[in-house]
Subunit: 471 residues, 2 copies
């Protein structure tokens, strides 16, 4: 049989990668827990009805559906074929496939909250770090299996939660040593813009278009807006909006002054002007409140072009960009009004953030930000010099490990050359030689494979010696 491949868009993670990924996860996990977030884990598969219709038509198509077992059972065969035809017609069918792999962590979380809301302490702060699966077309940096890292507070409308989550972003990236900008905007500001452009129903057209500003440039954004039915006047409002520059406070001030008045003059109904005003005002006020907690931070950037694709956001929205590298967003989130309504439990608003671990990994690799200590492979290799000495080595090994020193005994009595090669390949820095001669004298040899220097040490002092070397 030929060597088997991996499914498209999936990856094996060897030792080095696992350690580096764990380094990222551990920092995120620690900061979440210090801030009172509790871990949640949900199963990889959910009932199909839990997931369907939650991610739009596109999302439904990207679900990995699991074939029901026992379809070849005689009693089921009869109907199965007819039911399968429904799948070919693009419909979903419980008879053939009743489960799917989770597409994100938000819907499973919503399902969990809807099921347990009577037992939970609200505001409920949960974090979740698990893989998700999407049948997306694989490409550079986009995988079919990847980890999400989410923290959400639900059951509270307080802006202090946004403050808290901003602080978490800053803490995590400071500890990861990645310089970032936390871009913030507010859905109500975008809603004000949409109203100024003819109505709230323009919101999605406008956000979808300006979300691409970075990628396609202003001219193409304007073209897209025209295609979506915005007139010359409305497009000029959007353009004026996107042209707003300055410090955070200058942007907010300018937004209030020029844009609002401009749009008010451009519109007829005083009633709608009032609504625009209130929507904008609320957005600006929320952002100012958030900023007031970080007076010294230069890392928080009011970014009026930030839109976030997802429609369920209703308040402040976040996106994280790494400095010194072009990588797109490495995190994002925002406030939503209704987590669990789709599952029959209304009135649970919340706010959440997410870390894009795969991209964070890429940033850290490219900027060489992983500390050298992240690789913890074996530190000491006891050479195997045969039966007589092996039991002594084995005893010493237990002492080493009790002292927290990663160590191995080469399992085969073989040529030095092969044992050296093993140490080299595994990047083990020190080898210890105890042969019959050393057993007699009670003095072991320790060789530093990097420098080539060889030292000696009494067997009784070997652990202490290794601990010192190890520091």
């Amino acid at each position: 049989m030929s060597k088997p491949g991996l499914p498209q868009g999936t990856r094996d993670f060897g030792s080095e990668t696992v350690h580096k990924r764990q380094f990222i996860f551990q920092i995120i996990r620690k900061v979440f827990e210090l801030s009172g977030f509790e871990p949640l884990e949900t199963p990889a598969m959910e009932n199909l009805e839990t997931l369907l219709g939650k991610y739009g038509e596109e999302g439904d198509k990207l679900l990995f559906k699991i074939l029901n077992n026992g379809l070849d059972h005689a009693s089921k065969k009869d109907t199965a074929l007819a039911e399968f035809e429904k799948i070919l017609a693009g419909k979903n069918n419980k008879h053939i496939t009743g489960r799917a792999l989770r597409y994100d962590l938000t819907i499973p979380f919503a399902r969990y909250v809807a099921t347990h809301h009577n037992e939970l302490a609200f505001p409920f702060k949960r974090y979740q770090i698990q893989p998700v699966w999407r049948a997306d077309r694989p490409q550079k940096g986009r995988y079919r299996e990847f980890f999400q890292c989410d923290a959400d507070v639900v059951g509270s409308r307080s802006l202090l939660n946004e403050v808290e989550l901003t602080q978490i972003y800053l803490d995590v990236f400071r500890q990861l040593n990645i310089e970032v900008e936390v871009h913030i905007n507010h859905r109500k500001i975008l809603a004000g813009l949409a109203m100024a452009c003819g109505g709230a129903d323009k919101l999605i057209s406008i956000t979808t278009a300006i979300d691409k500003l970075d990628k396609i440039g202003l001219d193409k954004v304007k073209m897209e807006l025209a295609e979506k039915g915005l007139g010359v006047k409305e497009i000029s409002i959007v353009q004026a909006y996107l042209a707003i520059q300055g410090t955070n406070e200058e942007k907010l001030e300018q937004l209030k002054r020029s844009f609002v008045y401009q749009s008010i003059q451009a519109l007829a109904s005083p009633d709608s002007n009032d609504k625009i005003d209130r929507s904008l005002e609320q957005g600006i006020q929320d952002i100012r409140y958030l900023l007031s907690f970080f007076p010294a931070s230069e890392n928080i950037v009011v970014d009026l072009s930030l839109a976030r694709g997802l429609n369920y956001y209703t308040g402040i929205i976040f996106e994280i960009r790494a400095r010194h590298i072009s990588m797109g967003s490495i995190g994002g989130g925002g406030r939503y009004d209704d987590l669990t309504g789709l599952f029959g439990v209304p009135d649970i608003p919340g706010v959440g953030i997410s870390f894009g671990v795969d991209r964070i990994y890429d940033v850290m690799e490219e900027l060489k930000l992983f500390p050298a200590t992240v690789q913890h492979s074996t530190e000491f290799l006891f050479f195997n010099l045969g039966l007589e000495t092996v039991s002594t080595c084995f005893e010493l090994l237990q002492q080493f490990r009790s002292a927290g020193i990663r160590s191995e005994l080469y399992p085969e009595q073989t040529k030095f050359d092969r044992q050296f090669k093993y140490a080299e390949k595994k990047k083990i820095p020190f080898i210890i030689i105890i042969g019959t001669e050393e057993l007699k004298t009670g003095i072991a040899k320790i060789k530093n494979l990097e420098t080539g220097v060889q030292e000696e040490c009494g067997l009784g002092e070997l652990v202490l010696y290794a601990e010192k070397l190890n520091r």
Copy 2:
């Protein structure tokens, strides 16, 4: 919409359970790494051809297969229906389902080694802690999604690897505070028994039957052996074998003396006697070698009835039983001759062990072995007394967290009663009250919710105070 359920046989893990499971994983992971094992992670899904035929016919049926995406694409529809009929006929079909969820960690590991064997440092020591999925009928203690925790050394025939893995079992369970017996036997002893009972082809019948001794008792084992075609004489050999009692050494001695000679007399061909002898001798010798490394341990038990279901084992086999509780095996493993032959790479023997984390969890729960410190929820809750004091609390919060103290600020300014209830429900032991009065005097109130005792502390000393309380 009604509240959505979970797929049969799967579970959500809330905060308490996650922390307890992490406690188990972390100890296992630490011991693995101290012993030079390197982590590996493979994708949840594998190509169907990688998994099919590796777990027997029964296993194939328990695979969770993933429906290919895009079956409703016009060009594929034509053939899809015909191909689906093959699935209904009990066959597998790449056109409909080309991938499946992994069933264990061994085959993905074998795939990985077969693919990367030119780059790896042999002997290759890897560990892997990931979930697996089986469409088994769910029942108490048996789930469709559960974690496996494996460590394997491949590319070495040395028995020191068995010694090492035994030590790992002892270390992990000592650290988990679970008293266990490591049961050991040897496939070559079982092979000797089979040969003495008429031929090596009896091995599977015999091991399958005696594997059930604990569950069904001796009489039923004998009935099963008779059904499998063993004669009266052969069954009495098995019975004599199973009757062997005593210390480890007594068992091995008795095995050699009585049983071998008995079977030699019972058989005709001197040639086969010689084979039985050598097979048994090898098994006994290997076990003695292993035991010689643990002269003082009362936790290692030679268990001649131990058989292990899987056919690929060829040497020493392990199984772990917890004392003081009836739970079945909480770990197992053994030596195999050929990991990757099925993937076209021959001659990679190895030995591996596995920890049954779900059962270990159950044992620890039932025997109350989880340390109290395993629950790390929030330690301090700052009450929210409104706008004026919130920014002071937020600053203090950052100091607390920098000092590694898990702490929260209640996000809403609401009645004390509600904030108390939140602390209670989350089992937060201390609350801190800073209102306008406390802001003026610079002295916070700290209340121990367990004792009801309230103390005071200057805002500047609050972190130190909390650190002391926390110890």
